[in-house]
Symmetry: none
Subunit: 221 residues, 2 copies
DNA sequence: TCAACGTTGTCAGCCAATTGTCAGGTCTCA
DNA sequence: TGAGACCTGACAATTGGCTGACAACGTTGA
């Protein structure tokens, strides 16, 4: 999961980034509207946390430009302006949710989860495929009820595949989402990672579609 | 657009129903948890506005039962319990959004619009010819509902033919599309490919128009 | 400070699926 | 009936993907 955080107040930005990273997302941070717009326009994010009061370009303007250009990613708007007319504006400009400042970090994370979940077209609070269950709230993974311990990278890979449910995800997309910005990696690193994950989850858990990519195995429940 | 409103306080329920109806939605209202659950489980709604503090069955329980039963409709949760831990619970139980009371009606409408907009964005465009179905999102092909596993090249060929539907596609065009080159590639490679595809999809699936090209057979299902 | 450990990228070798080629077939139409 | 268009089975070269081994790196704890 790649997340872009656009927030100009250093203390808040730092806390948000730390919390999101601790949750296992790959996070990029920018501190003004123009950079935010550029990043969101050129890179592929699963979620954007966007402050409305950004320097150089207003957050609302950034959001509108993205939407006008057809960018679909879920956007969680942070705003200090708590009165409801602005909220309504934000939502109608294409925000998927907003959070008035000040907020509890836990609440931001819950909303982030909800948006990512919704974007994946899923209503359940846990991600699941067959006997594999991933609980994003507690960052726990079980296989048939038995806890499985995953490394950070393994966890991110599994979470991404589960979010995509039975879509086939090409290796290039996985590489981009796992390693954040401009990291050029050998696809073999990904293959090794898949192998390690399979060893922990069972070789049947992740399906290879030769020539296309990977997806979680569709199990017949 | 059908909307279900589950709210037990008569004054609020009345205002919400009126506002939604004024917007042009068809609205059903219930006033306790059991009725809410029953309605949501048996009828098809595009959106549910759900109060958490319902008599007879708690709103959260209603929501969880829906989700457990696989009901996917967007749910906007209303709650008087404004503290953030309950909000987190609500969101994690499968709510798509929540609105703390008291709220401005305009804000509720904006959120309703956002949820409906998002739900509408999920159409699954599939390519089809007779019993052959190609789902581009899942990169899956089925024949009479039975999954068929295709190689990358076979998949591309089929996708192209399905896109052209009832048009007869000359071999030169197929070669160009499959191999990029406008060249002297042996048309026999294409013939071999067609043969392999036919073996998987049924020999009737692809029609040969001698001297012109190929097209998907128009089947009468 | 150093050793033990876990994580992750790299490398090399292996296996199996994919796909082009070839050598015959079969079909169709003049 | 024969020429060309098309089909198909066999085969081999190529490619994509898997995995065990190892090394680099950071973390932890004594």
């Amino acid at each position: 999961m790649r997340v872009l955080v656009a927030e100009d107040e250093p203390r808040i930005a730092e806390r948000v980034v730390a919390a999101l990273e601790a949750t296992g997302y790959a996070v990029d941070a920018v501190h003004d509207g123009e950079s935010a717009w550029f990043q969101g326009d050129t890179e592929d994010y699963d979620l954007v946390v966007l402050d409305l009061g950004l320097p150089r370009m207003d957050g609302l303007a950034v959001l509108k430009r993205w939407r006008a250009a057809g960018r679909q990613m879920p956007v969680l708007v942070l705003t200090a302006r708590g009165s409801w007319p602005e909220r309504v504006d934000g939502i109608d400009a294409g925000a998927d949710d907003y959070l008035p400042k000040p907020f509890q970090m836990e609440e931001l994370l819950a909303r982030a989860r909800a948006l990512l979940r919704r974007a994946a077209g899923q209503g359940a609070p846990v991600l699941q495929a067959g006997e594999i269950v991933l609980d994003p709230r507690h960052m726990r993974v079980t296989r048939g009820g038995v806890p499985v311990s995953l490394s950070p990278l393994e966890y991110r890979l599994l979470a991404y595949l589960l979010h995509q449910k039975d879509r086939v995800v090409p290796p290039s997309e996985l590489l981009e989402h796992l390693y954040g910005l401009d990291d050029e990696r050998d696809t073999n690193a990904l293959e090794a990672l898949i192998t390690r994950l399979r060893r922990k989850l069972g070789s049947q858990s992740i399906e290879t579609r030769r020539g296309f990519g990977y997806c979680m195995a569709r199990q017949i429940p």
